[in-house]
Amino acid sequence: MNIAVCIKQVPDTEGHIDVDRRSGSITSPNLVINPLDVLAVEEAVRIKGQLVDVRVTVVCMGPDIAERALRGALSMGADEAVHVWDEQLVGSDSYVAGRVLATAIGPEQYDLILCGQMAADTQAGQVGAVIAEILEIPLITAVVSIDLNLQSGRMEMQRKVDGGKREVVQTSLPAVLTVESGINKPRYPTLRAIKDAEKKQIEKLNLKALDMSPNEVGATGSLIKVVSVSVAKPSIKNLFVPDSNLLAIDRINILMSGGISDKKAEMILGGLQEAASYFVQFVKERKLL
């Protein structure tokens, strides 16, 4: 089985993000592999450990520094790495990224293509769908567990749906799977693995190698364009003045989180049965049962 894993290098969104409103640049001191993509790499390596004859290839589109992300994935146990970059790709949106990755992956090369459900920077969740569409293969999103007992070439998996439920899906292969948090706990690579990963060859692809024209990528080929960026501010529900008895830190926390809006609770002081009936009626009316 051949598995391709698409990874993206993103600013570490767990840490501080600097936003320059004028230039629209968003920077962070740390660049990491998109956390959900790390889970995709881990899942591929886990499959490799359980089935025979599995090769894992990681594919990344990004500037020269994105090589760090590929080395990171190699140290986790991936076999090969493909680095796609061209100056023309600057300013590409998720749609273009999906098209470029699909072209790099190519039809009929891989049985399984894994991606993270969404990138931590753009929070779009579009790349997996574009790859599946271009390669004309099935797409299963939000996968949280994969059953490796293949039955006549079909794979079974569970995907996360609303209300804490899991949907069991069966698909033919090849397929694109986007993975959600909870699918696994990624390993920490050993020092030895990190050293070995440094020595591995990384295949480099540019637009020419992909046979794509500059017009279909970058800002020209993109379907959505960034107009402006700003530091996120909470949407304040109502003007709220925190109690001056509170600690300064608590007051700051209240304000930063958008304030706490007072609700007028319907108070029930009556008897026990009355209160219970009221509650049951209430949840029934609000369709919370």
């Binding site: 579009q126 809006s261 026990l272 919370l288």
Partner: protein, 331 residues
């Protein structure tokens, strides 16, 4: 029909019931359609969904399309995308709105990829600047707000349930309802849903729970916490607690709700014996409905509750559980 000015809302239904997010989208769609001077259209997919046109009309839709096919009875990414992509191609709306639910997010990404149109997922707001639509959404771990413009027509945006308000429409409009045939080929289906399972409520991540029953210092003991478990079980929800409950060893650390634990926003949050200290309320204040049970009528928790029950939870909860079980037995 005004070409390229209409707003299309993809309504979501489960087992013949409309998802609330569809009404929220209609309210927002109404505003956008007015500004664009276009019409507000809604499309609903399923089997025998004719009765849903009424609530859609009440919330401002000018035209309602229904696509009925036994293959569309439950959500299937492949069938829904096939059916909707052709339909959208014919309708040519300016903008398509869809809920950022698990169904809507999956569907929107597929439609955008299929037709090759711009997608802005988990939008916060839409503004109209002359003839362009500007979409703002949170990015970079919600630390940044980015505003996008789509180069494509139509364009598609998703909104999280609860992000928009439902507005009541006063006047009943004259509406058009139309059936659209969906041509689907079941032989082409490559992936299919074979079942749905409920995850273990004691292991489920709190952020996924629709109902949370939380206890604080007022619960009193680990034994009393069992009552909360009974209530959670009867409602199909998860048990959680405050820092006090964690320190007392009544709940495991992954069940802590508060600033240093999980930040949750379930549909129903039941606070039992919780006074409402800031550490805790900052973790649950965005819950859709809050019910508080406390002996102290002056507890701060009542200030953010929709329903307050002043009483001893040791009496109130068993009584509620009893009534809930009776109700279930009747169904």
């Amino acid at each position: 029909m005004s070409i390229g000015r209409d707003v299309l809302v993809i309504a979501e239904q489960h087992e013949g019931e409309l998802h609330d997010v569809s009404l929220e989208l209609l309210s927002e769609g109404c505003r956008v359609a007015d500004e664009l001077q276009g019409e507000l259209c809604a499309v609903v997919l399923g089997n025998n969904v004719g009765h849903l046109t009424q609530p859609l009309a009440k919330h401002g839709a000018d035209k309602i399309y229904s696509m009925e096919n036994p293959l569309l009875v439950d959500y299937s990414g492949e069938f829904y995308t096939d059916a909707l992509s052709d339909f959208i191609g014919d309708l040519t709306p300016k903008i398509i709105l869809c809920g950022a639910t698990s169904v809507g997010s999956d569907l929107a990404s597929r439609i955008a990829a299929r037709i090759g149109i711009g997608l802005v997922s988990n939008c916060i707001s839409i503004k109209i600047d002359q003839n362009d639509l500007l979409f703002t959404k949170a990015t970079h771990g919600n630390q940044v707000h980015t505003t996008f413009k789509c180069a494509s027509q139509p364009q598609i945006a998703t909104f999280e349930p609860g992000a928009l308000e439902v507005k009541k429409i006063g006047i009943a409009k004259k509406i058009e309802t139309m059936n659209v045939a969906a041509s689907l080929n079941p032989d082409k289906q490559k992936s299919k849903v074979t079942g749905t399972i409920q995850t273990d409520l004691t292991a489920m991540d709190l952020s996924e729970a629709d109902v949370i029953v939380a206890g604080g210092k007022g619960v009193g003991s680990a034994d009393n916490f069992r009552l909360l478990e009974d209530l959670a079980y009867a409602l199909g929800g998860c048990v959680a607690g405050t820092r006090m409950a964690l320190d007392a060893g009544w709940i495991p650390s992954d069940r802590l709700v508060g600033q240093t634990g999980s930040i949750v926003r379930p549909k129903l949050y039941i606070a039992c014996g919780i006074s409402g200290a800031l550490h805790h309320t900052l973790g649950m204040k965005n819950s859709k409905t809050v019910v508080a049970i406390n002996t102290d009528a002056n507890a701060p928790i009542f200030r953010i509750a929709d329903v307050g029950i002043v009483g001893d939870l040791l009496d109130v909860i068993p009584s509620i559980v009893e009534q809930l079980l009776e109700l279930k037995a009747q169904v």
